[in-house]
Symmetry: C2
Subunit: 279 residues, 2 copies
């Protein structure tokens, strides 16, 4: 497995691949868990070579967020990638990746107004910009993103379509602990007690989805079901519990077309998100 | 010569080229003149295949600008390209290129505050977005832009660097009529009298550059020289006469590092721009 810290180093390797060899790509911020490894698995299945980027992207963190304390266990990540058959890791230095006169950004308008976009201004601009730049560097034929970050995935998919990026955009199902808790690098921040209580998010989403499958289409009722489960677990704060359409990521009253039930909840200082798709 | 109206059609052709065959690209809005053909010439010299896009990009026109009356002489353009040895024209339909739910834009911050950016809000956002999308479609190794639109060229060059687009970005010297008037598709709007008077822009720029070469570094003095030449030609309106640094495209008091002398002037309803680089 190759490890590249510079764009030039990666490019030399990329250009050395035979022209018909395809690259599958999983962009990550490191602190890899089974969710990331599932992205790697899908990338490996769909392409000849698998590339993982590990880069804690400063552009997507707000000033009060956890950029500096975000975990960076590079040796462990690297070992996991090697064991999973990854061909190359791209792990640039922030100062090299974003020179001091960096001035460009990319935005998808409209889809960032609700859910995480409402409480994390400029977050998705940072995500779009880094992913666009990574695509230009990595040159993948397949790119894999986790469904856990559904707003991110749907915004990026729109960006890929709008900008005619020629790649197969995969949204990969959320991987969960046996408790149901969605895998997240931020789970490492949780105490055992918080981790147990946090399972209420998925429980609530599952109960609401079951009610929806049995005919309940009123968003207020479905959100109340989710909220009841979360509230019973005594969260520190509920950021949102929402039902949105997949097309516009905007709140809906009736859950009828392709939709998302989503929640963002704080346990202690840790903000956790999860969602289920209704199709 | 191939002519493609759809992304899919172009892609099939692009993918059929041998992997080591390079593509040189000149993006245009059509109404081709000798300035565009010079871009084609440079592209041909630097790459194996030459692609010209012809697309009057609605995103880069303001509501009061000349989008609908912009000339679209496709047959003449096509004949010029064929004669110049162009391999393929990409001329998409606006509705196909920008589907109704198109939501993505790209911006270069800072460089769009002065010169044309000041009087054409959102113009460079439209330019960055269309060029980024065209790059993703055309997949060029070389891209050629005219120096006449210097702010556009420097903004796009920054975008290319910031987003790690892997291409050779060429800024090609302005081609002029024998009168000195910079070639522009918008010259077609001018009456003979306006066309003659408009030569005052280049004359003023040339006089100021000569004064600078002889030691005059005061921007106010240099701008006064340009302005005197333009005013004597009785323009309808002067949008700007400016001295800016090449790095920041912001006004400077002393013209010492790499700089630009630039002007935008209306003759009748026609807005003309021109510039000279001081290095």
């Amino acid at each position: 497995m190759e490890v590249f810290k510079t764009v030039a180093g990666y490019r030399t390797w990329r250009n050395s691949l035979p022209a018909n060899r395809t690259v599958g790509f999983a962009p990550t911020m490191g602190a890899l868990h089974a969710g990331h490894m599932r992205l790697v698995e899908v990338a490996r299945k769909l392409a000849d070579e698998t590339v993982v980027s590990i880069f804690v992207n400063p552009l997507q963190f707000g000033p009060a967020e956890d950029f500096s304390r975000y975990p960076r266990p590079f040796e462990t990540d690297s070992a996991l990638c090697r064991a999973a058959g990854v061909s190359a890791i791209f792990a640039p230095e922030p100062g090299d990746f974003y020179p001091s006169d960096f001035s460009t950004h990319c935005d998808v308008d409209g889809l960032d107004q609700h859910l995480c976009g409402a409480s994390r201004p400029d977050h998705f601009r940072g995500v779009c910009t880094v992913v666009l730049k990574l695509f230009n560097i990595i040159q993948p034929q397949v790119a894999c993103f986790g469904q856990k970050d559904i707003q991110q995935a749907l915004i990026l998919r729109r960006m890929v379509e709008d900008l005619s990026l020629n790649l197969d955009f995969q949204i990969v199902e959320t991987v969960r602990e046996s408790s149901g808790l969605a895998m997240s690098s931020r789970n490492a921040y949780l105490s055992d007690d918080e981790k147990m209580r946090a399972t209420a998010i998925y429980k609530g989403l599952t109960q609401a989805k079951a009610a929806w499958a049995q005919g309940e289409k009123d968003a207020t009722v479905l959100k109340r079901i989710i909220r009841a489960s979360i509230d019973a677990a005594q969260p520190t704060r509920v950021d949102y519990v929402e039902a949105v359409s997949q097309a516009r990521l905007a709140p809906i009253d009736r859950v009828e077309g392709p939709s998302v039930l989503a929640a963002a909840v704080y346990f202690g200082k840790t903000r956790l998100i999860d969602n289920l798709l209704l199709n």
